[in-house]
């Protein structure tokens, strides 16, 4: 960029009022674009099958058909899918919270030979795509008869609860003052006691962050259920059930019901986001930046 253009550009950018209006307009326009698919989803989910195929499409459904939600919910046993997902979710939450915090405590608060090597390995596995072990894991799990069970989707989480979660908690544990632990240590408390009685209660905000990420990860996971639960419709998770729901109507795509079912799958995630917004932001801050 040559000098004169830069001068005018910076002059313009320094004009505060121009800048404020510009920023606000761009953000507003962008927000409208980002929000449009949500509006489309909601609007379509309330349309009759006839109104879906009207062109140009209406934004406000006429008539508004709430029964799409009931039809979608009952055409396939979504209540069962929700229950199946919640079982996996509950197990994963326990696994991740206990296992990840346990490992993270070791990485954060105990100095031992080889710790840095293992921490480097941990960081490397955060980077490594899990997809790489998808095929051999499937081979192994099918050998030991775990296909068509929820075991492949839960048991691995008991072993460390995911490298990323360990990393996140480790970062948090390192920010805690060591005086409390030192005092307890002098009183003869073992590391296990310090971890369980002192550190875990202090780590509640970070644990909340991880619990939320685990909820979203489990609720949204498609590859896992597709590999291990796709053969038995009674074991479907919500994600798998919705994916299979696409082809539930011979010969025609019921966009109205699909949009209603999709909405029902999205709503819990958005609800959790709004309830726990500050933990999201915190998790992002810890993971990305305080390294």
């Amino acid at each position: 960029m040559n000098a004169p253009t830069r001068a005018t550009a910076s002059q313009l950018l320094d004009n505060d009022r121009f800048w404020r209006i510009f920023v606000w307009t761009v953000l507003l326009a962008g927000a409208c674009v980002m929000f449009l698919p949500f509006l489309w989803l909601l609007s379509s989910s309330l349309k009759t099958e006839l109104a879906i195929f009207r062109y140009p499409p209406d934004w406000i459904p006429d008539p508004i058909q709430f029964s799409n939600y009931i039809d979608a919910w009952t055409t396939r046993p979504f209540a069962l899918y929700v229950r199946n997902t919640l079982v996996i979710l509950l197990l994963n939450e326990i696994a991740v919270l206990v296992s990840a915090s346990f490992c993270a405590y070791g990485f954060a608060r105990i100095d031992f030979p080889g710790r840095n090597v293992w921490f480097a390995i941990l960081l490397a596995t955060v980077m490594l795509p899990g997809i790489v072990t998808m095929i051999p894991q499937f081979v192994i799990f099918s050998r030991i008869g775990w296909v068509n069970t929820i075991l492949p989707l839960t048991v691995p989480f008991f072993f460390g609860g995911g490298a990323f979660n360990i990393f996140l908690l480790r970062q948090f544990f390192r920010t805690l003052p060591s005086e409390l632990a030192d005092a307890a240590y002098i009183d003869g408390a073992s590391e296990i006691i310090i971890y369980w009685r002192i550190m875990l209660p202090l780590a509640k905000p970070a644990l909340a962050t991880i619990a939320i990420f685990t909820f979203i990860g489990t609720w949204n996971d498609f590859m896992g259920p597709l590999l291990y639960l796709a053969k038995d419709p009674n074991k479907f998770t919500v994600a798998l059930g919705l994916a299979m729901f696409r082809t539930a109507f011979a010969g025609r795509t019921r966009w109205d019901l699909l949009m209603a079912a999709s909405t029902m799958m999205i709503v819990p995630v958005i609800f959790v986001f709004f309830v726990a917004q500050r933990y999201f932001i915190q998790g992002i801050a810890i993971s990305g930046l305080k390294g």
């Binding site: 140009p56 499409p57 490992c103 405590y105 070791g106 596995t125 072993f159 460390g160 360990i166 966009w255």
Partner: protein, 307 residues
């Protein structure tokens, strides 16, 4: 108790160190076990399987480098590489630039920031399956939202999911809808830049543009780099969109690499070949990450932090 007494008789520091090491390894043992059971073990099994022809029913049949030969002669292997590279090369840079730009705007103290941040972030937590179902309707040629919008400004309708040259742009567009996740990471980074640096720059006569180039971008370079690495790795793993929306078509235009692994493994049950493809993906991502670290990493500015 007897053990305790015995221990105290040993030279204190050495025992203590040994005991700490033992405690340390006890704490991280779940991770170590998991690393071997669910990563190293499977990776070794996969390495071994690359030399076999095995459909999981008949006993494995040793074919040596047969799978390698097959791969080098497999048009779909090259196609899936090409497709994934195309997706990665477009979606990652565009996503990085757009989300950085948005984060910059958002970091400017303006009204309704929290609301904007939420609206931009929400798409990134939409479940992949719901996302795929929603977008297959948005991209529908006859009744979809995208074509309705194009039509309303006088542009012709596009058969997004039927035309080989349009399917990929459609999926890239869909992936960009989720750029809020990257944006909030930038935003957190931007908020960590001390105000004093901007004030100093202002005193030196730097305008907004100069501050952006000389203060913001250098200080943000570790975050940009982090997002670049995460973005590349993530883009190589795209699966659900290709699997659910396009089924890899039309004419293999969206046959993403992971989708091709999945097909070989779980539809054709060619476990040896699928394992080889998985290892190749591993080396590709590994090599790519190294290259990025070597050639982009040197531009990353690390602040000297005291502690």
């Amino acid at each position: 108790m007897a053990v305790q007494a015995h221990r105290t008789r040993l030279p204190w520091p050495r025992t203590r160190r040994a005991r700490r090491a033992l405690t340390g390894y006890l704490f991280i043992s779940p991770f170590i076990l998991g690393f071997f059971l669910f990563f190293v073990g499977p990776a070794l099994v996969a390495a071994w399987l690359t030399m076999f022809d095995w459909n999981m029913i008949r006993p494995p049949y040793f074919i040596g480098l047969g799978n390698f030969t097959k791969m080098f002669n497999d048009d779909l292997f090259y196609q899936s590489l090409k497709v994934t590279a195309y997706f990665s090369l477009v979606s990652v840079p565009v996503g990085l630039v757009l989300s950085f730009f948005l984060a910059l705007l958002m970091n400017f103290k303006t009204r309704s920031i929290a609301l904007f941040r939420t609206i931009y972030y929400l798409p990134s937590i939409v479940p992949a399956v719901a996302n795929a179902v929603l977008w297959s309707f948005i991209l529908n040629t006859e009744f979809g939202l995208l074509n309705a919008l194009l039509d309303s400004i006088g542009l012709p309708k596009i058969a997004w999911l039927q035309e080989p040259e349009w399917a990929m742009p459609a999926i890239i567009l869909m992936s960009l809808w989720a750029l809020g996740a990257t944006m909030v990471i930038y935003l957190a980074g931007l908020q960590g830049i001390p105000r004093s640096l901007y004030e100093a720059a202002e005193i030196d006569g730097a305008g907004r543009w100069a501050s952006l180039i000389n203060v913001t971008i250098p200080l943000m370079s570790p975050v940009i780099f982090f997002n670049l690495i995460i973005g590349i790795i993530g883009s190589f793993q795209i699966f659900t969109a290709g699997f659910l929306i396009t089924g890899g078509g039309p004419q293999h235009a969206t046959l993403f690499y992971v989708l091709y692994i999945y097909r070989n493994g779980l539809q054709y049950f060619d476990m040896g070949y699928a394992s080889l493809l998985a290892w190749v993906l591993f080396f590709l991502i590994f090599a790519l990450t190294l290259i990025v670290f070597k050639y982009v990493g040197r531009y990353v500015y690390y602040e000297d932090v005291g502690s």
